[in-house]
Amino acid sequence: MIVYNTVEDIVRICRENNMLFWQVIMRADAQERMVSEDISFAAMREMYRAMKRADSEYDKNLKSPSGLSGGDGEKMRIFNSTGNNLCGAFMGLAMEKAIKMGESNACMKRIVAAPTAGACGVIPAVFLSYETCFNAPEDKMVEAMFITAGIGAVIAKNASIAGASGGCQAEIGSASSMAAAGLAYLQGGDAECIAHAMAFALKNMLGLTCDPVCGLVEVPCIKRNSAGAVNAISSAQMAMAGIRSAITPDEVIDSMRRIGNAMPSCLKETGEGGLAITPSAQRIKETLQ
């Protein structure tokens, strides 16, 4: 039976059994759910394809019920196509896809929570853009999806993936670190490199609060998906360059839990602090009532 509770557990199991990071996660899933590894792989492929469908079903004309969100993903697409993109084709496309997915979610369309709905844009933005820009085979993308899932499971176990418990660091922060880990694998990184990509991405997001305007998963959530995607890409690139985190990956996760516990409740999805109580937010609130 494969059991892992920490990132270090996964790295150790890889080393002792000469397995790849994603294989450890898939085998543990197959054993836990008493299914074959083929069934586990097919289930993850289905999740990846559901992300693709959600991306392709983006509707630039939709507005969220509050009227706050919609159409910004299309603005990014148009800007990227003008050739004025500041940060290269891959990162530009990831930003566009992240915003599109966040808007689809706000408009009550069907998405894949990864790990949450508020953060649903980060992983598909990075992965679908990578597949497109680097011509990666789908099987390889599905393998990397297992890595994101394994990292997310460790974070959920040792910290939190809910904004109401840990703030936005637990949502966009978790998604960004999951995506960074998967991206490091896609680029050829070994288990240690994957773990440090995850650590960089999460460290950069520590302390991020959950203070959405009117309590809706719209402002600032949608654009934070773009920030999470960009952070994932830069974190994977640092790890691939051989840079290593001075704080171990599991200690970063522990820190996230402690920071989340210390965070006042007005900054944890209650709509009572931060951006949610600014004059602009109050004006929006009045127009909605």
Binding site: N105, V112, A113, T116, G118, L216, K268
Partner: protein, 220 residues
């Protein structure tokens, strides 16, 4: 931990805790009721109360109580669908103390008059915890076939139930025991690796000292 609670579920937005988790609490409650729900008093607590409206929490809970899953595209329309079906829905504030921030207290009446009260917590990423049934602590995720037996607190009931499960070749994944006071109301929560056959549940319902049997089947 099921990794498809991390990557997944496929769901209708906008919030995994406040929309999908809420729908799942409703759906599991409907399964626990075992029959159509005709009246639902839905009492919200914490963040569910403060920000639930903008997240569609109310719509999602009602959709779940009608048997809709979190990826059902009819969730945004659920309040109208409930009205058309003649289901009575009342919303209010829960008076629970120190509960989880995302908590719903559901007071339900079934089509045969069966009553059920469920306290459900949404833990994030659409994972949930059924914290209380009929006022007694429970704590289960709804990810396993789950048997909840309310009985009088007296010797022998645990072995009766586990003997029945052994006889039906059902393996126990987790088991919890709670009671209100010595000799008072007790509850067993048994999460299983296999489905408990209907004849096993019928037998339990008739067993002496058993007050109520509630069963969560994962089969559709």
């Amino acid at each position: 931990m099921n990794i498809f609670d991390i990557i997944g579920p496929v769901m209708v937005g906008p919030s995994s805790s406040h929309t999908a988790g809420a729908a799942k609490i409703g759906y599991i409650s409907r399964k626990l009721m075992g029959e159509e729900i005709v009246k639902a008093e839905i009492l919200l607590y914490g963040s569910f109360l403060a920000t639930g409206k903008g997240h569609g929490t109310r719509m999602a809970l009602v959709a779940g109580l009608m048997g809709m899953k979190p990826d059902d595209c009819r969730i945004p329309e659920s309040l109208n669908i409930a009205k058309r079906r003649g289901m009575e829905v009342i919303f209010g504030e829960s008076d629970l103390k120190e509960a989880h921030p995302n908590t719903a207290q559901l007071k339900l009446t079934g089509v045969t008059g069966r009553k059920l009260e469920v306290v459900g917590e949404s833990l994030g990423g659409s994972r949930i915890n059924i914290a209380k049934i009929d006022g007694i602590e429970t704590n289960f995720s709804g990810d396993y076939p789950t048997l909840v037996v309310h009985n009088i607190d007296q010797p022998g009931h645990v072995s009766e139930v586990t003997a029945m499960l052994a006889h039906k070749s059902v393996n126990i994944a987790a088991m919890q025991l709670y009671r209100s006071n010595r000799g008072g109301d007790a509850v067993m929560v048994i999460e299983c690796d296999q489905e408990v056959p209907p004849e096993g549940i019928k037998w339990l319902e008739k067993a002496e000292g058993v007050v109520k049997v509630t069963y969560l089947s994962l089969e559709d």
